[in-house]
C-alpha cells in the first residue's frame, strides 16, 4: 500500500475530487484516496491543486483526508494467467473480489491482476550468451489448453546479452528467470510479469498491409462486408437490434487466436451469460472450450463510471500484449458509447466546456487514439500479430448522426449498421445491406480468390447490385403492389427474398447454422446466383414466374443452412445440379 502522501482532499463531487497541497503528483499517476484507499487517477494539475478521478464509489469521502501517490501511472499486469479470467475495468479479478466481499463488490479492495503465487511451467528458448532485444521471446509457458504464452523482454529494454537464464521448470510470474547485461551500471533482471500503462500503446516494429479477413462464420459479414485481420469496425444499432448478440457470435466463432471481450457499461446478466456459455462452447477449429482463448472485462452499467472509462484501455493493452507474441487478437468493445458517456460524465464533473451534446471536445481524439491501437503489425520480436477492434456503438434513439457514431465512422474502415426494422421482423443478424460498407474488400480480395476460384469478388458484386435493384423495386411495390411488375422484375424480388432468407439470416441458436465455413458460404452464394441466372434465362424464354416459384428444389435451397452441415458441402453442388435440371425442364406458359 503506498504511503507517500501527495495531498489532501479539498472537494468531492461524485467520482471527481479536487486535491489540494499537492507536492509531487504526476499526471495520470495512480493514487489512493482517503483512508479507504479508493483507487484514483490524476487528471489535471494546477499549481497546488490536482483533479483526481476515483474508480470507486466516493460515498463517505471527506475533505481533509489524505491522498497517497503510487509513483506510477494506472497500469495492468501482463503475464501468464490472464486467459480465462474475468476482470473489472481496472483489472481486479472479479472472482477474487467475490471471495473477498461476497455477492456485492465492496470498496477499497486491491488485488494483483494476475496470481503472483501460481507456478507455471517455463521452457526457455534462449541460452546464456545470446543477444536479445526489446520484445525478444526468451521462453514459453503453456497458459491454457490452446494458448502458448511467449515470455518476452520488456518493450522498453535495450539490446543486451543474456548472462543467465533458468532451466526448464516451475516458476511464479515474479521469480527472476533471466539476467541480461545491457552495458548499464546494473543488469536487467527479467520476470514473466510485465507492467504497462494502459493509456500508452505498446511499441511495434512496423505496421503491415492487411491481407487476410477475420473469418467470423457469419455469412453477411464474411461474404458481403469482410473485416480484415487487424482492421477496425463499428457496429451501431439502437437497443434491441442485436449488437450484443452479434458481438457474442463473433467472439464465439471468429478465427482470432485470442478474444478480449470488454463489457463496458452493459448489463450484469449479459456478462453472466457469457461466463455461463463460453466454457461450454467448443472452438470449431481445435475442439477445446472457447474460454481457453478468452479474457473477459466486465464493468457493468452500475459499476463506477471512471472504471468504465478505463476498461476500454485495460482491454486493448492486454490485446496488444498477446499481439506482441505474434497472435491474432480480436477485441470486442460493447459498447463504446457507454465509454464515451463516461467521458462526458467525468468531463461534466470537471466543469469542462462541452462541445456537441455535452460531450467533451476531445471525444474525437480519444476515439481516434483508441481505434489506432488496432492494426496488423510486425512486432518487436519479428512476428506478425494483429489486434482487430470490433466496437459496438449505441446511438441514442438509433440515430446514426449523433456524435459518437459520427466520429467513430471517421476512424473505422468497416461499418455494420444494424437495422431496427430487420430486428423487428427477427431477421438476425440485423446487419443492413444498404447502410453497411467495408473498405477492406481489395485488401482481402486475394485471400478470397484462393478460397473461391476467383469467383468471390464478382459474385459479391453481382448480388449487391441485385439487392440495390431490389431496394428500388420495393419502392415501386409499396405504391402499386407486386402484381403490377413484370415477371422479370418480380423475379429479382423473388431471388433477393431467397437470398435474405437462405443466406443473410443466420440462426445463432441452431447447431448447424450458427457457424458457416467460408467454403459453405461460397457454395451457398453460388447456388443463389445459379437460380438467378438460370431463372432469368427461363423467364426470358417465356416461363412464367409461378412455375419457378413452385419448384420444390427452391424450398430446399432456403433450408440449406439448417440441413447441410459444414462437413458435407458437396451436397450443395448436387442441389445446384438438380436446380439447373429442374429449371431447364420448365416449359412456357401453355406447355407442360
Amino acid at each position: 500500500m503506498p504511503t507517500r502522501i501527495i495531498g489532501h482532499v479539498k472537494r468531492v463531487n461524485g467520482p471527481v475530487i479536487t486535491v489540494t497541497d499537492i507536492t509531487d503528483a504526476e499526471m495520470l499517476e495512480l493514487v489512493r484516496v482517503g483512508e479507504e484507499h479508493l483507487v484514483g487517477e490524476v487528471q489535471k494539475l494546477n499549481e497546488t491543486e490536482a483533479t483526481v478521478q476515483v474508480y470507486e464509489d466516493a460515498t463517505g469521502l471527506c475533505p481533509g483526508e489524505n491522498v497517497y501517490g503510487s509513483g506510477s501511472p494506472l497500469s495492468v499486469e501482463l503475464g501468464p494467467g490472464m486467459i480465462g479470467s474475468i476482470y473489472d475495468g481496472i483489472q481486479r479479478p472479479l472472482e477474487k473480489l467475490e471471495e473477498a466481499s461476497g455477492t456485492f463488490i465492496s470498496r477499497g479492495l486491491t488485488f494483483d491482476g494476475i496470481d503472483h503465487t501460481k507456478k507455471w511451467h517455463f521452457i526457455p528458448t534462449i541460452k546464456a550468451g545470446d543477444t536479445v532485444n526489446a520484445g525478444s521471446i526468451i521462453g514459453t509457458v503453456q497458459e491454457s489448453e490452446t494458448i502458448v504464452h511467449k515470455v518476452m523482454i520488456s518493450p522498453t529494454a535495450s539490446e543486451g546479452v543474456v548472462i543467465s537464464i533458468v532451466n526448464e521448470g516451475e516458476y511464479t510470474v515474479v521469480d527472476d528467470i533471466a539476467e541480461i547485461s545491457q552495458n548499464k551500471s546494473t543488469d536487467l533482471k527479467v520476470q514473466m510479469l510485465q507492467k504497462w500503462s494502459i493509456r500508452i500503446p505498446r511499441p511495434v516494429k512496423d505496421r503491415m498491409n492487411f491481407h487476410a479477413p477475420l473469418v467470423t462464420g457469419l455469412r453477411v459479414i464474411d461474404t458481403l462486408f469482410p473485416l480484415a485481420k487487424g482492421g477496425t469496425v463499428a457496429i451501431p444499432g439502437g437497443f434491441g437490434t442485436g449488437k450484443t448478440m452479434t458481438q457474442h457470435a463473433i467472439a464465439q466463432w471468429c478465427d482470432a487466436d485470442i478474444i478480449v471481450y470488454i463489457g463496458c457499461g452493459e448489463r450484469g446478466n449479459e456478462m453472466t451469460d457469457v461466463l455461463r456459455e463460453f466454457p461450454q462452447l467448443i472452438d470449431p477449429r481445435n475442439g477445446k472450450s472457447l474460454m481457453e482463448r478468452t479474457i473477459l472485462i466486465a464493468n457493468t452499467s452500475n459499476m463506477p463510471v471512471s472504471a468504465r472509462e478505463a476498461s476500454i484501455y485495460t482491454g486493448i493493452t492486454m490485446a496488444e500484449y498477446y499481439r506482441d507474441m505474434g497472435y491474432a487478437v480480436a477485441v470486442m468493445a460493447d459498447s463504446t458509447s457507454r465509454w464515451a458517456e463516461a467521458l462526458r460524465e467525468l468531463s461534466g464533473r470537471m466543469e469542462e466546456m462541452p462541445a456537441e451534446e455535452g460531450f467533451p471536445a476531445y471525444l474525437a481524439t480519444r476515439i481516434a487514439e483508441f481505434y489506432e491501437r488496432a492494426g496488423l503489425m510486425k512486432t518487436l520480436c519479428g512476428a506478425e500479430g494483429s489486434v482487430s477492434v470490433i466496437g459496438a456503438v449505441s446511438p441514442p434513439g438509433g440515430d446514426f448522426s449523433e456524435p459518437v457514431t459520427m466520429h467513430t465512422k471517421r476512424f473505422v474502415r468497416c461499418f455494420w449498421g444494424l437495422d431496427k426494422s430487420l430486428a423487428s421482423a427477427r431477421h438476425f443478424p440485423a446487419i443492413s445491406w444498404t447502410d453497411s460498407y467495408s473498405e477492406y474488400l481489395l485488401d482481402v480480395k486475394g485471400w478470397w480468390s484462393k478460397k473461391s476460384d476467383d469467383t468471390w469478388f464478382q459474385n459479391r458484386k453481382e448480388i449487391m447490385e441485385l439487392l440495390q435493384k431490389e431496394g428500388r423495386l420495393q419502392q415501386i411495390v409499396k405504391l402499386v403492389g407486386p402484381d403490377a411488375l413484370p415477371d422479370s422484375q418480380n423475379f429479382i424480388l423473388e431471388v433477393c427474398n431467397l437470398f435474405k432468407n437462405a443466406f443473410l439470416q443466420q440462426n445463432a441458436f441452431d447447431k448447424i447454422d450458427r457457424y458457416c465455413t467460408v467454403e459453405k458460404q461460397v457454395k451457398m452464394l453460388s447456388v443463389v446466383l445459379t437460380y438467378w441466372h438460370r431463372g432469368n434465362e427461363a423467364i426470358n424464354k417465356g416461363v412464367p414466374l409461378v412455375k419457378l416459384k413452385r419448384l420444390k428444389v427452391v424450398q430446399e435451397i432456403s433450408r440449406i443452412k439448417f440441413t447441410i452441415s459444414n462437413e458435407d458441402i458437396d451436397q450443395i453442388d448436387k442441389l445446384e445440379l438438380r436446380l439447373e435440371k429442374a429449371i431447364s425442364s420448365l416449359g412456357g406458359i401453355y406447355e407442360d
Partner: protein, 470 residues
C-alpha cells in the same frame, strides 16, 4: 479507518445553525467540520421540525445538501443541520410487508414500523457478475402476447413503455395478480414503488392488491405527486434495498413494480439544473444513464440464494416518443421492453402491446422443451416474422386498396386481424395458460399457407398446424 469513523461520529453530534444559501431543494452550509460525500443530514427547520437530506457535494468551504422533504419554510439564519456521519440507511424487516411507507422508508400510515433486522445503505453496491445466476425460469403472466412473444423471466428487468392515458397500470396489476412460476410455489412478495404518481393510481394498485388478497405480501413505497419532487430520487433506492433483503436474505421471489420512471428522471433533471451542471440531451444530466443503471441493475438472481428480484418499471414516454432519452436509456439497460401502441389502444385492444418493438432478451434461454413447450421458440419467431409482414401489407393496402392485394397478402390481412383480436387482445382478468397461448398462436398461423411458414420446421408444422376453416 476506525479512528476516522469514531471522529466523525463524535462530530456528528454537532449542530450547525444558519445556512448560507437555499436554492430549490438544495441547502448550502458553510464552516462545518469535514463532511463525507453522500452522508445523511438531518435538517432542522426554524419551527423545530426535522427533515432528511443527503450531501450532494462536499468541500472544505461549503457543503451542498439536498433536502428530500423540500425546503418550504426554511430560512437562512434559522435552519440547522446535523451531519450523521453515515449514508442514508434503511432498517429492513419482513414486517414492512403489508405496510405503506414514504420515499425514505418511514411509516406513512401513522403507526410505527417494526424494529428492523439490518440497517442497509440504500445506495446498495453493485452485484459482482461472477456472483450472479443467469435467470432462466419462465414466469407465466397469463397474458398471451407477453408469455408467447416477450416472455418474462424470473430475475429479469422488463419495463413497460407506455404513454399517458393507456392501460399500463391495469397491465402491471394484472401481471402482479397472475404471475406464477410453473412447478414452484416458493414465497413471493411485491414491492410497489410510486414516484410522483397521483393518489388515484396508488389507490388503484392498493385496491387491486386487496381484491386479490395479496396485500399482506406487498410493501408500498409512496412518494406521490404532491410530495416533494426531490424525494422521488431516493424512493426507488429505498424500495430496492428492501427488495434485496427480501430476495437475497429471505429467499423470496420479489416482483418490484416502479411507476413512473419518467418522474424519477424529471426530478434528477431538476436537481442537476439547480446545481448548474452541464446538461446532455434534452437538459437531462450526463449521468442519467448511470443513475438509471444503479436502479435497474439491482435485480436478478445470485448464487447461494433461492430468491430473485424481477423488476417491472413503468415509464410513460413523453409524447409517445420511444427515442426520448428516458425510454432510450432505459432500453439500453433493461433486458427488453414491452411497448404500448397508441393506435392499438384507440382501436380498443387490451393490452395494447405492439409485439414488434417489444422484446425480451432473456427469453431465448427460458422457453422451449422442458420449460414451456418445444415449439415455442420457432413459433414465436414465426409470429414475429408474419406479423411484421402484415404491417407491410397493410401499408400497401392503404395505397392500392385491399381489393388489389394478391391472394397471399389477403391471407396475411386475415391472419393479422385474427392475431390482434384473439391472440393479443384479452380480458383484464383473463388468465391464459402457456399451452393455451401457444395453441392460439398456431390457430392464427392457420390463416397462412404452410409454405409461408419458413421459420418453423416441417415436423412442427405437421404436428401443430391446421388450416383455418375460414
Amino acid at each position: 479507518m476506525k479512528t476516522k469513523n469514531a471522529d466523525r461520529r463524535l462530530l456528528a453530534g454537532r449542530e450547525y445553525l444558519g445556512a448560507s444559501k437555499i436554492d430549490g431543494p438544495l441547502v448550502f452550509m458553510k464552516n462545518t467540520h469535514p463532511v463525507g460525500y453522500g452522508e445523511l443530514v438531518e435538517i432542522i427547520a426554524p419551527d423545530g421540525s426535522r427533515r432528511s437530506g443527503q450531501v450532494l457535494e462536499t468541500s472544505d468551504e461549503i457543503v451542498c445538501v439536498q433536502v428530500f422533504e423540500g425546503t418550504t419554510g426554511l430560512n437562512l439564519p434559522g435552519t440547522g443541520a446535523h451531519f450523521m456521519g453515515e449514508p442514508l440507511k434503511l432498517s429492513v424487516s419482513e414486517g414492512m410487508l403489508g405496510r405503506v411507507m414514504n420515499g425514505l422508508g418511514k411509516s406513512r400510515d401513522g403507526s410505527p414500523l417494526p424494529q428492523g433486522e439490518f440497517e442497509r445503505d440504500v445506495n446498495g453496491e453493485p452485484i459482482n457478475p461472477t456472483a450472479r445466476v443467469y435467470p432462466q425460469n419462465f414466469i407465466q403472466t397469463g397474458i398471451s402476447v407477453i408469455d408467447g412473444m416477450t416472455t418474462l423471466i424470473q430475475g429479469q428487468k422488463l419495463p413497460i413503455f407506455s404513454g399517458n392515458g393507456m392501460e399500463h397500470n391495469e397491465l402491471a396489476a394484472q401481471i402482479a395478480k397472475q404471475a406464477k412460476v410453473i412447478n414452484n410455489d416458493s414465497d413471493f412478495a411485491i414491492v410497489f414503488v410510486a414516484m410522483g404518481v397521483k393518489y388515484d393510481v396508488a389507490r388503484f394498485f392498493i385496491n387491486s392488491f386487496e381484491e386479490s388478497g395479496v396485500i399482506g405480501n406487498v410493501a408500498l413505497f409512496l412518494s406521490l405527486a404532491d410530495d416533494p419532487s426531490i424525494e422521488r430520487t431516493i424512493t426507488p433506492r429505498t424500495a430496492l434495498t428492501l427488495a434485496e433483503y427480501l430476495a437475497f436474505d429471505k429467499g423470496k421471489q420479489v416482483l418490484v413494480i416502479m411507476t413512473d420512471m419518467t418522474n424519477y428522471c424529471e426530478s434528477l433533471r431538476e436537481i442537476s439544473t439547480l446545481r448548474g451542471e452541464i446538461p446532455s440531451r434534452k437538459g437531462y444530466p450526463g449521468y442519467l444513464y448511470s443513475s438509471l443503471a444503479e436502479l435497474y441493475e439491482r435485480s436478478g438472481k445470485i448464487k447461494g440464494s433461492e430468491g430473485s428480484i424481477t423488476q417491472l418499471p413503468i415509464l410513460s414516454m413523453p409524447n409517445d416518443d420511444i427515442s426520448h432519452p428516458i425510454p432510450d436509456l432505459t432500453g439500453y439497460i433493461t433486458e427488453g421492453q414491452i411497448v404500448f401502441d397508441r393506435s392499438m389502444h384507440s382501436r380498443g385492444l387490451y393490452p395494447p402491446i405492439n409485439p414488434l418493438p417489444s422484446l425480451s432478451r432473456l427469453m431465448k434461454d427460458g422457453i422451449g422443451e422442458g420449460m414451456t413447450r418445444k415449439d415455442h421458440p420457432h413459433l414465436s419467431n414465426q409470429l414475429f416474422a408474419s406479423y411484421s409482414h402484415v404491417q407491410e401489407v397493410r401499408n400497401l393496402a392503404s395505397v392500392i386498396g385491399e381489393e388489389e392485394l394478391t391472394s397471399i397478402d389477403k391471407q396475411y390481412i386475415k391472419f393479422g386481424n385474427f392475431f390482434e383480436n384473439n391472440f393479443i387482445s384479452q380480458g383484464s382478468d383473463e388468465n391464459r395458460s402457456i399451452e393455451g397461448t401457444l395453441d392460439l398462436g398456431w390457430k392464427a398461423l392457420g390463416y397462412l399457407p404452410s409454405e409461408e411458414l419458413q421459420r418453423l420446421t416441417e415436423e412442427e408444422i405437421d404436428e401443430y398446424w391446421t388450416e383455418a376453416d375460414d
